[in-house]
């Protein structure tokens, strides 16, 4: 099980610049769908990749689904050489993304984010309209139901109703 609170906390306390995307961003916007991992888009500056490496190093990051014993070094050089990483850690599953279809990089996503307080810490979260956009851009069949829910959430936000 993924400890979202601890994962977000370790990223924030290490000063990692990231945007929360994917299923957890959908939860923030009111989704009722269960998700198993944390998806973030990180800023690909040398300083931030170093912070990201330091943030997750104590939590035994390993490539999800890779055979045990595969040589894998989690450090800034590895992040620099790659782009997207799907990791298992001692805190749970986290997808570390340098870029997402339809949304691009951290810098491209930043204008389409909300700065929200999550568990007492500031956190950039992709806004609902952009989340719908990137899920449509991804064009995955399994996302159709999720997109429908996000569009209903957008419609709810746009119409007055009793709380």
């Amino acid at each position: 099980m993924t400890n979202f609170k601890e994962l977000l906390g370790t990223l924030r306390t290490n000063g990692v610049e990231f945007v929360l995307v994917g299923g957890m961003a959908a939860i923030v916007h009111g989704s009722s769908r269960l998700t198993e991992d944390l998806d973030i888009v990180y800023r690909r500056t040398p300083e931030n990749m170093d912070r990201l490496a330091r943030a997750l190093s104590p939590h035994q990051p390993y490539l999800r689904g890779a055979p045990p014993g595969l040589p894998f070094q989690w450090d800034a050089a590895t992040i620099q050489r790659g782009l997207n990483f799907t990791l298992d850690t001692s805190l749970g599953q986290i997808d570390i993304l340098g870029d997402i279809t339809g949304g691009g990089s951290y810098d491209a996503l930043a204008p389409h984010c909300l700065s929200l307080e999550v568990y007492g810490m500031p956190c950039l979260v992709i806004n609902l309209e952009r989340l719908i956009y990137v899920k449509r851009a991804a064009g995955r069949r399994k996302d159709m139901d999720a997109i429908a829910e996000l569009e209903l959430l957008r419609d709810q936000a746009n119409e007055p109703h009793e709380q």
Partner: protein, 73 residues
């Protein structure tokens, strides 16, 4: 051009016009659940999700135990 620059330029234009395939899923969604979630704070939404995730884990474990005992019987 670096791979990072190439990646950041791969933002394809996407239509947000109504899509009949997506619209076909909407009648099956419980809007009352969405309204309830929207009435909560963000932390409450995340806490509810964590509790639901824990419950799902318990159910998977129960199913696993049941299948294991059925195999032994």
């Amino acid at each position: 051009m670096s791979s990072d620059q190439q990646a950041s330029q791969q933002i394809v234009p996407v239509s947000l016009a109504p899509d009949p395939v997506i619209d076909a899923y909407k009648p099956g969604i419980d809007v009352t659940l969405l309204r309830k979630n929207l009435s909560l704070s963000i932390d409450e939404r995340l806490d509810n999700h964590a509790a639901l995730q824990e419950f799902a884990r318990e159910l998977r474990e129960a199913g696993r135990r049941h299948r294991a005992s059925a195999r032994q019987a």
